[in-house]
């Protein structure tokens, strides 16, 4: 899943013909080739599936011609991707659909190759930045979504390890997916403060401490603060059409400039083109030491982003939407947001009726015991359970721990949701909204209740609104 920088026509890559079958998938065309393998576009094979749907990316990682130890590295890389995809799924992470090991004794190049089948993105953030500067509103949306993905990764115990615009993908609808987890490290140790990754990285995104990091038997130590540093670089790049914040003509020169800055011999000079709020955010991400950066977690940054003052066009609609988003984010992410939710449901309890009852459960520990209906502890109800659970996909009505809701039916396969205690479920309940709401019903993720009433299966909702 590398960007164009890796489109090298590497001579070790024999191109596969369109129609080549990989498990339940077939190749349509090559997308990119890089040092680690080749990425093809593909689709679900078989005639019962419409050809227009299900376009996927097939990442081929050949192991032939490699010494056993190198092959093991490839396998390790793939294992990280699969493991992370299995355990940390999230609407902001590229979805791993399948993984296949090829058995092609007649084609030594392909035999033993690993194929990762993933959602297909339209392009990378790098491609977008090459096309020119983005507006502040668009940049804000991109960074918010990157923060959402990063906050989720960190909360589920992973460090990305190679965050950069080439690995931040944009779907056809413009939404962000983090990808390329080949260097992702799972946080270990008694306090889950750090993990270990192979000694690899991309110079322009390495935090200053990495240049001096020792190599231990498990690799190099990485901490979430390394991703935060990379996020600071990315924020700067988003508003400067890809210009890095540190001066220098080569990555080594910029690496040296990072070192001078971290040692206190040079100030941080961010491009004035970066709007003030984002410049401050980037500067915090680029705090010179791990200790100084540790104060800024992906979640605290996300809370700041969602609660930031609107700089222009103080339209009520915009403000409302922002507030809803802030509250939703807090519902998704531990309730650190500070904005209030003026359109919350106050004390009105949805009318009862329907096929069953559920009580709302808020897994965020500080919210589970609260009864004051604090906005930070409110939870959002989705409009469409098959679209990402984001601010533009929730109704104004908020619910709190202990609220009793009337349920119509259960949808088995919506967008999977993971709560603050890592419970995971793709199931959603359709619940009734209070009389007078713009919509009669909305959707509550099944992880948001402990009840499992016997209710009928919901008809699959027509996607879209």
């Amino acid at each position: 899943m590398h960007g164009p920088a890796d489109t090298s026509g590497s001579d070790c890559a024999e191109l596969l013909a369109p129609g080549y079958r990989v498990g339940n998938w077939e190749v349509t065309e090559p997308i990119a080739a890089g040092g680690w393998g080749t990425v093809y576009a593909g689709r679900a094979a078989g005639e019962d599936r419409p050809a227009t749907r299900d376009t996927v990316a097939l990442k081929f990682l050949p192991t032939s011609g490699l010494a056993p130890r190198q092959a093991r590295n490839v396998v390790d890389t793939a294992r990280r991707e699969v493991e992370l995809g299995r355990r940390a799924g999230h609407p902001r992470l590229i979805r791993l659909l399948d993984s296949v090991v090829l058995s092609e004794p007649d084609h030594p190049f392909l035999d033993g190759a690993l194929v990762l089948v993933m959602e297909r993105a339209r392009r990378s953030l790098r491609d977008l930045l090459h096309a020119g500067p983005v507006s502040e509103a668009e940049g804000a949306r991109l960074i918010t979504e990157i923060c959402e993905g990063l906050a989720h990764l960190h909360r589920t115990g992973w460090v990305h390890g190679d965050l950069k615009p080439d690995n931040i993908l944009l779907m056809a609808d413009g939404s962000v997916r983090l990808s390329d987890f080949g260097l992702a490290a799972e946080l270990t140790g008694t306090h889950g403060t750090h993990g270990y990754a192979p000694p690899m990285g991309t110079f322009d995104y390495l935090p200053p401490e990495r240049w001096k990091a020792p190599l231990g038997e498990h690799g190099v130590q990485v901490r979430p603060s390394a991703d935060i540093w990379a996020l600071g670089i990315v924020i700067h790049e988003v508003f400067t059409a890809g210009a890095p914040p540190f001066p220098g003509a080569t990555p080594m020169a910029r690496g040296a400039a990072v070192q001078e800055y971290a040692d206190g011999r040079a100030p941080l000079r961010l491009d004035p083109a970066v709007p003030p709020f984002w410049r401050e955010l980037a500067a915090d991400c680029l705090a010179p030491s791990h200790a100084a950066r540790a104060a800024h977690t992906a979640e605290s940054l996300l809370a700041r982003v969602t609660a930031r003052p609107q700089t222009r066009e103080g339209l009520p609609a915009g403000r409302r939407r922002r507030a809803v988003r802030a509250a939703l984010v807090c519902a998704l992410l531990c309730g650190t947001a500070t904005a209030s939710a003026p359109h919350g449901a106050r004390d009105d309890v949805p009318p009862l009726g329907g096929a069953g009852r559920i009580r709302v459960f808020n897994a965020e520990p500080t919210c589970t015991t609260r009864t004051d209906r604090d906005p930070d502890c409110s939870l959002g109800l989705a409009i469409d359970p098959q679209r990402p659970y984001t601010a533009d996909n929730v109704v104004p009505t908020r619910v709190w721990q202990g609220d009793e809701l009337a349920v119509d039916c259960l949808l088995a396969h919506g967008i999977p949701i993971i709560d603050e205690r890592d419970a995971w479920s793709p199931q959603w309940f359709r619940v009734r909204l209070p009389a007078g709401s713009p919509r009669p019903t909305a959707w509550l993720p099944a992880v948001r209740t402990k009840d499992r009433p016997r209710v009928p299966a919901c008809p699959v909702p027509a996607s879209g609104r």
Binding site: H2, G3, A5, D6, T7, S8, G9, S10, D11, C12, G35, W36, A67, R69, Q70, N73, R126, D162, K164, D166, G182, L183, P198, P199, M200, G201, T202, F203, D204, L206, R210, W211, K212, A213, P214, L215, G216, E217, G219, V220, G248, T250, P251, M252, A253, G255, A256, A257, V258, Q259, E260, D263, R265, A266
Partner: protein
């Protein structure tokens, strides 16, 4: 980018700024952007690196760390300085008088200043930050290697330290396990037939191992490894070998860099590479 290391052998000088080692040698570390002045020095002309010889100016020159390399300014009005590459088969640069900021491309350098007698004064500069691209990252991409994911601990595969590393890894690469990591005398013996390493001493091998462990790979030995067994040096060697193999810094194909094995075991090397593959390395000192 962690900077450079300057090493002044015993008997050449010393200064308050740098910590003289026990034997009178001086080691200075400079980070990117940092500067060290060298010369005879005086109360009014302080220098970070003091060179004791009447023929050397009070302020003879300046070293500045830039990017992954360093620059030498010759502040003498009359003398050229030489920068030799000790592994470069006589390769050297002449830095003329008053040249400001000459970039020095060598990972290992010996800076030589003339004196009035037949002798010279010299010190060494190591620049371990030099970056080497991964073999699969070459070609194509329109020169855009900057955005690539690369191995962050890169080694010069034509350097003597790399030969020492391959020799250390050889038994495990040939799957002659379980075997201990070779000792220093075994390394010296193993490399004796190599054109560039015929006169490699045990002390030099130890220095290369230290350089690999401390400057290149920044090895942390695994904790609590049976302290009773002593042999701390072996811990360091085993760590180097384990890491080099685990992270693919040394691979089977590198065995071709070693001279053929003499004695009982027949030559047993993969095809490709071979003695002629790297002409630059065989002209030894």
């Amino acid at each position: 980018m962690s900077g450079i290391v300057i090493y002044l052998p015993p008997g050449s000088g010393g200064t308050a700024a740098a910590e003289p080692d026990g034997d009178g040698a001086v080691t200075l570390r400079l980070g990117p952007g940092e500067v060290a002045r060298f010369g005879r020095g005086s109360a009014t002309t302080p220098v970070e690196l003091r060179l004791v010889d009447d023929a050397i100016s009070r302020l003879a020159g300046e070293i500045r760390v830039t990017d992954d390399h360093w620059q030498l300014s010759n502040l003498s009005a009359t003398h050229s300085y030489l920068v030799e590459n000790p592994e470069g088969a006589g390769e050297y640069l002449r830095v003329p008088p008053r040249r400001a900021g000459a970039p020095i491309p060598f990972e290992f350098s010996r800076v030589v200043l003339p004196t009035r007698r037949d002798t010279t004064v010299s010190f060494q500069v190591f620049a371990p930050d030099h970056v080497y691209l991964d073999p699969d990252g070459l070609g194509g991409a329109g020169g855009q290697w900057g955005g690539r994911t690369v191995t962050a601990y890169s080694l010069d595969e034509t350097a003597t330290y790399f030969l020492v590393l391959v020799a250390l890894c050889e038994p495990r690469l040939r799957d002659e396990s379980p075997v201990a990591v070779p000792t220093t005398p075994q390394i010296v013996e193993r490399l004796r037939d190599h054109a560039a390493c015929g006169r490699l001493t045990a002390r030099a091998v130890s220095s290369h191992i230290d350089y690999l462990a401390e400057e290149k790979m920044r090895v942390v030995p695994p904790p609590e490894q049976d302290p009773g067994r002593g042999a701390r040096r072996n811990g360091k060697r085993e760590s180097i070998v384990g890491l080099a193999l685990r992270f693919g810094l040394v691979r089977e194909e590198h065995l071709a860099l070693l001279p053929p094995r003499s004695g009982t075991s027949p030559r047993n090397e993969p095809t490709g590479g071979g003695e002629g593959a790297r002409p630059g390395r065989h002209i030894g000192k």
